[in-house]
Amino acid sequence: MTRAQIANYGIFFAFALVVIGLMLVSPAFRAPENLVSIGRQIAVLGIASFAMTFVILAGEIDLSVGAVASASGVVTAMALAAGMGPWAILVGVGVGAGFGLMNGLLTIYAAVPSFIATLVSFFIAQGVALTLTGGRTILFDADWFRDLFATGTVFGLRSAFLWLIFAFLALWWLLARTRFGAHVYAIGGNQQSARMLGLAVDRIKLIIFTMAGALMGLVGMILISRIGNARSDGAIGLEFDAIAAVVIGGTALGGGTGSLLRSLIGVMLIGVLNNGLAILNVDFNAQQVIKGVLVIAVVLLDRWARGLKGASA
């Protein structure tokens, strides 16, 4: 394979390899019910990765993803516990969108690099979640809510999984089949040129950040619905897994090239890997180590495949 081919199709081979390998090694892995449970497990990571795909395609980054999802989950749970009923959904999405809006405003209008702007949101959201819970677990009693976001089934499919499918289809359409999506690529390709061409760079970025925040609200609600309570560290480290999935899928850091489908495959790869490693009794913490190494290795490989520039010191 040439470098370019490795960069473009390596992920598909890697995915096939991991799945086949695990199927051969582990009977538990290849059990049908396990595949269903993988589908359920990747809902949270999947939606977060889709949001991250937009952000990275536009040439930015969002480090606040996990903390914002946790905070949204906590706030929603408290709203449910306070008897707000369906309004709680609005609150959850609103909290997420609010943080996303802040990320966007800071990045675009204050010209703060997005890794700093979203780091600030990360800290504040983490503080909100920690302070509201005070280290406790927030319980709520709303079966309708849990059914809606995670535990309910339609045609035998869990609602969390349906949300994933729905989010994928809607966001795929937005990215691949609308003018907005086309302009996301343009901005990521060359922001200066996009501005010269009269594209609404600032507005599109603001929408992307806010949308990513709102989607973290959804993620937070799926998260608390799945386990039936909310904790301050519910989605800890999610930003890293999401960046990992996007990057492993082959969407380039720096923006302009990649796709939602690629991120989906990245998500499935991580989902399968997590599941497989757990089945093979690999410690959760060791999984973290493996993922950390994997991300750096994949990014390095991607840089290599695209050809490193500036060889001389």
Binding site: L63, V295, V299
Partner: protein, 314 residues
């Protein structure tokens, strides 16, 4: 806001903030304004100071290190385990510092030669270090029972000064001298402001950047040793807010977020402000979790002020 007003505010804020905080805590807690508390404040914040000095250099060259909390956790665990295994503390200490320099260098090499944004590399390192720390401990903290080690850093004194304070002072003077009075330091300003122009002026940009990450490793390593000695154990999550605090200190100090300007002296002010805040909030029994929000908002304020002062569009 007018740019010159923002500049003035940015320059005055660390002093003003520090004075206001000290005033407020002195007024609201009888335990705050006394020598004993100040000594505690100094020793408690030693690790933060060292890491903040390192972070100043890293931000000066336009990079970031998000892995410090996790790495300090990992190093403290390794240090404790080595002592439990019977290694003499001086050897264990040196090994841990060497390990930390190696981790820093690795961050630098991957960032610079792999051309990967440092926030991704150090985020990866964060995951790796966190995972390894838990793997090594099985999620429990490991007690350090070599009392010579604990006493050296937190009971013994030289000329009536606690040893962590002496180390921080030495590190501070070295960093200030390094940045302002050496070839290396002047070149870092050039590298941070304009890498290409620096390269065309004969500055070995890549080596300089890797060296900065290695220095960061050294400071993090020493910081981890002090942290382990203060806590008397090694634990993965021993300093959860360290990364936040260090970045906050540098940004409050008015460093440019894009690199090219930073000052260790002003970072010291920023770090003092954070240290006073940490200390005062404990004295006032403020919910420890609320500090994330308080510090987050402070950084937010500092960041926007810095952008206004440097004339970014508003």
């Amino acid at each position: 806001m007018n740019q010159s007003v923002a500049k003035l505010l940015r320059d005055v804020m660390p002093y003003l903030g520090l004075v206001l905080l000290v005033g407020y805590f002195s007024f609201s807690s009888e335990f705050f304004f006394n020598a004993r508390n100040f000594e505690r404040l100094a020793t408690d914040s030693a690790t933060l100071m060292l890491v903040a000095f390192g972070m100043t250099l890293v931000i000066l060259i336009g990079e970031i290190d998000l892995s410090v909390s996790a790495v300090v956790g990992l190093l403290s665990v390794v240090l404790a385990q080595m002592m439990v295994a019977g290694l003499a503390w001086p050897i264990a200490m040196v090994l841990v510092i060497v390990l930390s320099v190696a981790i820093g260098t690795m961050n630098g090499v991957i960032t610079v030669y792999g051309q990967i944004p440092s926030f991704i590399v150090t985020l990866g390192m964060l995951a790796i270090a966190t995972g390894l720390a838990f793997v090594f401990t099985g999620s429990v903290s490991v007690a350090i029972l070599q009392y010579d080690f604990l006493d050296l850093f937190y009971s013994d004194q030289i000329f009536g000064l606690p040893i962590p304070l002496i180390i921080v002072t030495l590190a501070f003077l070295t960093c200030v001298g390094l940045l302002n009075r050496t070839r290396f330091g002047r070149e870092l300003f050039a590298v941070g402001a304009n890498m290409e122009a620096a390269r065309l002026s004969g500055v070995p940009v890549k080596q300089r950047k890797v060296t900065v990450f290695a220095i960061m490793g050294l400071l993090v390593g020493v910081g981890a040793v002090l942290s382990a000695a203060r806590l008397g154990n090694g634990a993965p999550g021993s300093s959860p807010t360290l990364t936040l605090d260090a970045i906050a200190a540098v940004i409050i100090g008015g460093a440019s977020l894009f690199g090219g300007w930073a000052s260790v002296v002003r970072t010291l002010l920023g770090a003092l402000l954070i240290a006073v805040l940490n200390n005062g909030m404990v004295l006032l029994n403020v919910n420890i979790d609320a500090q994330y929000i308080v510090k987050g908002v402070i950084i937010l304020f500092a960041v926007v002020l810095e952008r206004l002062a440097s004339g970014a569009r508003s």
